[in-house]
Symmetry: C2
Subunit: 503 residues, 2 copies
């Protein structure tokens, strides 16, 4: 047993996290390489390396030596800095949660998610829910069981929610979603009775190299440091930090016949990257580096994508660049055409392609279904039927097949039950942040002038620089100084609808 003093333990705490960061760097890069560059038949080889390194980092994080160190520091937590306390808390929490799960079941679960993901891909391709059902049942069942192991006195679904958003309750979410439903469903009905906007501007022929030029232009425009943030292309866009916030990668997917998809992907992932790279440098190589919780992350990505990116001022700002890159395609078009096209609202099948107005309804449906399965009100086998029913009820559309319905998302196959609500929360947080930001920053003027520094500085000071030092609730409390209130989001959406559709 190592004899620690407070000083040596503090050093050991940093050394431990540096080591973990190196493993996370390697693991992140292996995944990133698989999604971007790797030849197509190399997955098995990569999987073998990922398995070995994951086991090594797991062993490092849960070794007797590590537990001793963390418990020593925990026993002297009053003498630690706020940052150190949070590091010890986060590291110990992971270990203690893990220790409550029997190792055999933990490994079984890890294997299950790998197989389930593979089966899900095939089931989605074949639009065959029955193929996926046994795995999904097992995944729900094990998530429930693990929840009971870790927090025996808590509602199992609430435990799952808390994994992605510390302290989130179903009471909060019920209230939140019912407000959204009451606000958005009638709005959507009114919009659907109006004449639809013309979004012809987005379709045509847009060469990939020109779209790539647009990507870099947008990244620089919103304030990303291209010396530290890279761009690649993947099937599904994502953002990842490698080792620390000093090396960030975003990805996009280009469609030659529609430039808007990649344009807003880049701004969305760029928002994530702004948040991650905005961590204070002193947090690098610690568990506090990068953002706290998915919801705050989405509040930033969706803030840049929607609140900024789909504003009239932003469309005006970037339109000259579009004319320069796509002179023929933009002939006879205006910035206003762009503004209207990227704010077209209509019910659709696929969450990731949904517009701002309908997006939260997609999320709400998933939340209601997860909650019902956890509560035993419905069974996994009922999910396709219930999915289709809710899409009809909230969005008024018919689901043609499970591929475009219950099988569309990868989250459940990966065991991420309780993850979806963060997406909607993030959008709503963003709207409330905007109101707060406007108290000291002339946001519209900044966008008009292409001067994102004041906006980014506000986000940096209030949100980014703290990394995951604070919980989402603490961030909200510090930034807003008032309760989270989804009305800001409803109002924001209403104004947009009024502007575009006059409703």
């Amino acid at each position: 047993m190592t004899e620690y003093t407070l000083d040596t333990a503090r050093e050991a705490l940093l050394a431990l996290q540096r080591k973990m960061a190196a493993y996370e760097h390697a693991l992140g890069l292996l995944q990133y390489d698989g999604a971007t560059t790797a030849p197509k038949a190399t997955a098995e080889n990569r999987g073998a390396s990922i398995a070995v390194l994951s086991e090594e980092v797991y062993r490092l994080g849960t070794s007797k030596e590590t537990v001793e160190l963390l418990e020593y520091l925990d026993s002297r937590k009053d003498e630690l800095t706020e940052k150190e306390r949070r590091m010890v808390y986060l590291l110990l929490k992971d270990i203690r949660d893990m220790q409550k799960i029997p190792m055999k079941e933990y490994i079984e679960y890890e294997e299950l998610t790998v197989i389930a993901d593979d089966v899900w891909h095939k089931a989605k391709e074949a639009s065959d829910f029955e193929m996926f059902r046994p795995y999904l049942e097992k995944l729900f069942e094990m998530n429930k069981r693990f929840a009971k192991y870790i927090e025996p006195d808590k509602d199992e679904y609430e435990h799952c929610l808390g994994q992605y958003e510390e302290g989130l309750t179903t009471a909060t979410l019920d209230k939140f979603f019912s407000k959204l439903r009451e606000g958005i469903v009638p709005l959507l009905k009114k919009v659907s009775e109006k004449e639809q906007v013309d979004d012809g501007i987005r379709f045509g022929e847009f060469p990939i190299d020109k779209q790539e030029e647009l990507s870099y232009y947008l990244m620089e425009l919103i304030g990303l440091d291209l010396d530290h943030v890279g761009l690649s292309t993947t099937e599904h866009p994502f953002t990842t930090s490698l080792g620390s916030h000093f090396d960030e990668r975003i990805t996009t997917h280009y469609f030659e016949d529609d430039f808007v998809c990649s344009m807003y992907s880049v701004i969305h992932e760029g928002g994530h990257a702004l948040y991650d790279t905005g961590s204070a440098d002193e947090l690098a190589y610690t568990v506090l580096d990068g953002g706290t919780a998915m919801s705050i992350h989405e509040s930033q990505s969706r803030f840049y994508e929607n609140i900024i990116g789909r504003s009239r001022a932003f469309c005006k700002l970037v339109f000259p660049k579009l004319k320069e890159l796509f002179p023929k395609q933009m002939e006879g078009r205006t910035a206003e055409d762009l503004y209207r096209a990227v704010n077209k609202a209509e019910p659709s099948l696929i969450r990731t392609e949904a517009d701002e107005l309908t997006y939260s309804l997609h999320v709400m449906i998933r939340y209601e279904l997860e909650k019902a399965v956890f509560a035993g009100e419905i069974e996994v086998k009922d999910l396709p039927r219930e999915w289709n029913r809710l899409y009809k009820e909230y969005l008024g559309i018919d689901i043609p097949d499970d591929k475009h319905g219950v099988l569309q998302d990868s989250h459940w196959a990966g065991g991420l039950m309780g993850y979806f609500p963060s997406y909607a929360l993030g959008s709503a947080y963003g709207a409330q942040f905007l109101a707060k930001m406007k108290e000291s920053v002339d946001v519209d003027k900044c966008i008009e002038n292409g001067d994102f520094a004041p906006i980014n500085e506000w986000n940096r000071e209030n949100i980014w620089k703290h990394g995951s030092l604070y919980t989402p609730a603490q961030i909200l409390d510090r930034v807003l100084g008032e309760e989270f209130n989804p009305d800001f989001y409803i109002n924001y959406l209403s104004e947009k609808c009024k502007d575009i559709y006059g409703v």
Copy 2:
């Protein structure tokens, strides 16, 4: 202490190598990412991760547990298979060599190479040998010292040579290079008296995307499996295996005004990749996976690049593709023009850009200089003068500055003393392999028909599939059944010169 049986030890031996392969995969990918995709200000972050993981893999490879395992297996080596014996030998050799170096000096050396490489970059840029000299002196000194630690009874330079080519002696190399000198220097003199060939075909405007298409065409043509071999672009082309021979990456560098550079880079690196990916699958995730020694590796890369790639038949074969990709640039040109252009021979300053005929002379100069420094016949400070003298003597050219002279290669800055001769040996091996191959394969006919299967099968059976099961000497012995004889190479070069220059 673990109690082994032969069976459990065998399993542990494989598990150890699987683990090592995962670390090598991660480390290789970090380097590859740095050279290909990473944003430019991320080197420090990457360096931090590489340092941590290198230490982990070093610790794994030299731990008490590992040594016990290997020594147990070594004590029962008569009961092991040939492959297992070789694995134990190679793993133990590394450890035993390492153990002879005081840890403090080992770490000092590791740090020195990192700094020396950085200084070398700057010194080369500034063409300032004096800036680099103190580091180079230290590097030579430490290489000498380490050689004495590891093999006290052996000539220090010979020890260094043996690190890259098991069993290689200065006697062999002296004989080899003197034959080359006697053969090549007069040939070069005769060539220089002839009218120079017209290589105008290679210059013009060659769009990168078309050159990329050419790269993939060539990779497939020579038989690479693109499902397992990827292509990227880098400043300096290279080849790397990730984790096992199932994931191989080659890189190239495109010049828009000269398509020949990248074309032959791709074939050269493709040759390395053919060798690596040709390892028997049962060698995957062991130290026997991939090629044995640099010289055999170069024999393959230079075989495909030069012997095949610069043959008349190959130029005929690929010319229609060039016409298709670059119709305007190829107007009025013929396959024969290509053949002559890519075989133009003339003395030049830079090794990596040298033609087939002069290439070995560049290598020979480096060999003579290294040998003289190790023997104390010259000092490091004399290297620029001696370099320039030898270039004048063998190649008849004047070195304008050290950037284009003694500072051009990165090898010495990385501490790779004794590495250069492999390049020349590989070229010569290739010529002798060709003669042997022709006994059973109609090589010219195969190339003419674009049917590389018989050529590749011959290489696979004789060389590739063995990975590093055999030493280079054993490979030569098995393949040739006769002594290595550089006359094959001289004859090959002479015939080429006769064909192109009529000398």
